[in-house]
Amino acid sequence: MKLLALSLLALAFVGTAAASEASPTAAELESELVCPVCETTLDTSDAPVARRMKAYIRARIAAGDTKSEIKGKLVDQFGSTVLAVPPRKGFDLVAWVLPLAGLGIGVVAVGALAWRWSRVRGDALPAGGEGERLDPKLERRLDDELDRFDE
């Protein structure tokens, strides 16, 4: 039953993505493209060039272009920096790999530290739950002190 539900969910997701590719909306493209002058997404920009790009997107949608075609035409004119999310190829791949690598290194570092601390604490704990065995000299001195205190 769970498998069927998951399959249906996956199918729905793929169907939505395909519909978005074939018939994109201006709003979704504007949130995925960046104004080259103000460097914010088009949907949050009112710069003159952003307004022109929005008009261009609407014209291309009306002409029947797919989402990839519209993005491709804008990348051809403004470069890949016009994409809000960098492509997963070439040098732009660094933007994807670097945060994941950083996260991986962080997890390993935290794990190593946790392991080290747990070992240090384990070594410090007395064996068998008894109190730490004192130096005989120190123990004798402590006994003397206690005896004096009793007197």
Partner: protein, 185 residues
């Protein structure tokens, strides 16, 4: 692996990361200001950064180097820029006035849609060469602070004068050209 070695390794990694970030910061700051801006501020005559860009009239590419030996008026503009519209008739008239005197006008359209740029040139009847730089590859190297901005290059390809903002009078344009021509002698 002993704890001491682990600690030493972690310290080495941390120092390397900090050094790399510091290097990146220095590189970014050094890149921030173009050599042209620095040289012009010192009163120098920096070499105009070379480029080869697509012509908006569809006649292939234009390489700045091919204009060596001529005085070049290099104007950065965009179709969505109001002051660019205002100065365009002055530039077109200037190109006609200086025609046949070894002076070439070149427009560089930046941060713009190609179709908008072509419509703009047609609307204003611009006949001199204009190239398309939608990716703004020349902006950083020239230290362009905004559009419009005009550079005057001597015959050796050195920048002799710059007008940041619109050319407001024909006399300003002529003055820039004369300076570049004097530099060529």
């Amino acid at each position: 692996m002993t704890v001491a070695r682990l600690r030493l390794g972690a310290q080495a990694v941390a120092v390397t990361i900090v050094a790399a970030l510091l290097g990146l910061l220095i590189w970014k700051v050094a890149q921030g200001e173009s050599e042209v801006t620095t040289e012009l501020a010192r009163g120098g005559t920096p070499a105009a950064p070379l480029f080869t860009l697509e012509r908006l009239d569809g006649k292939g590419d234009l390489a700045l180097e091919s204009l060596r030996g001529k005085t070049v008026v290099l104007n950065f503009w965009a179709s969505w820029c109001g002051p660019c519209r205002d100065e365009m008739p002055l530039l077109q008239q200037g190109s006609e006035r200086w025609a046949g005197r070894n002076v070439v006008f070149v427009g560089i359209d930046i941060d713009d849609l190609r179709s908008d740029a072509r419509s703009f040139l047609e609307r204003y009847g611009v006949t001199y060469a204009n190239v398309y730089d939608g990716k703004s590859s020349t902006v950083g190297r020239y230290g362009v602070t905004g559009v419009p901005e005009t550079y005057f290059l001597d015959a050796a390809g050195k920048i002799r004068y710059r007008i940041a903002g619109p050319v407001e009078e024909a006399a300003d344009l002529d003055q820039g050209i004369e300076r570049a021509r004097r530099g060529s002698r």
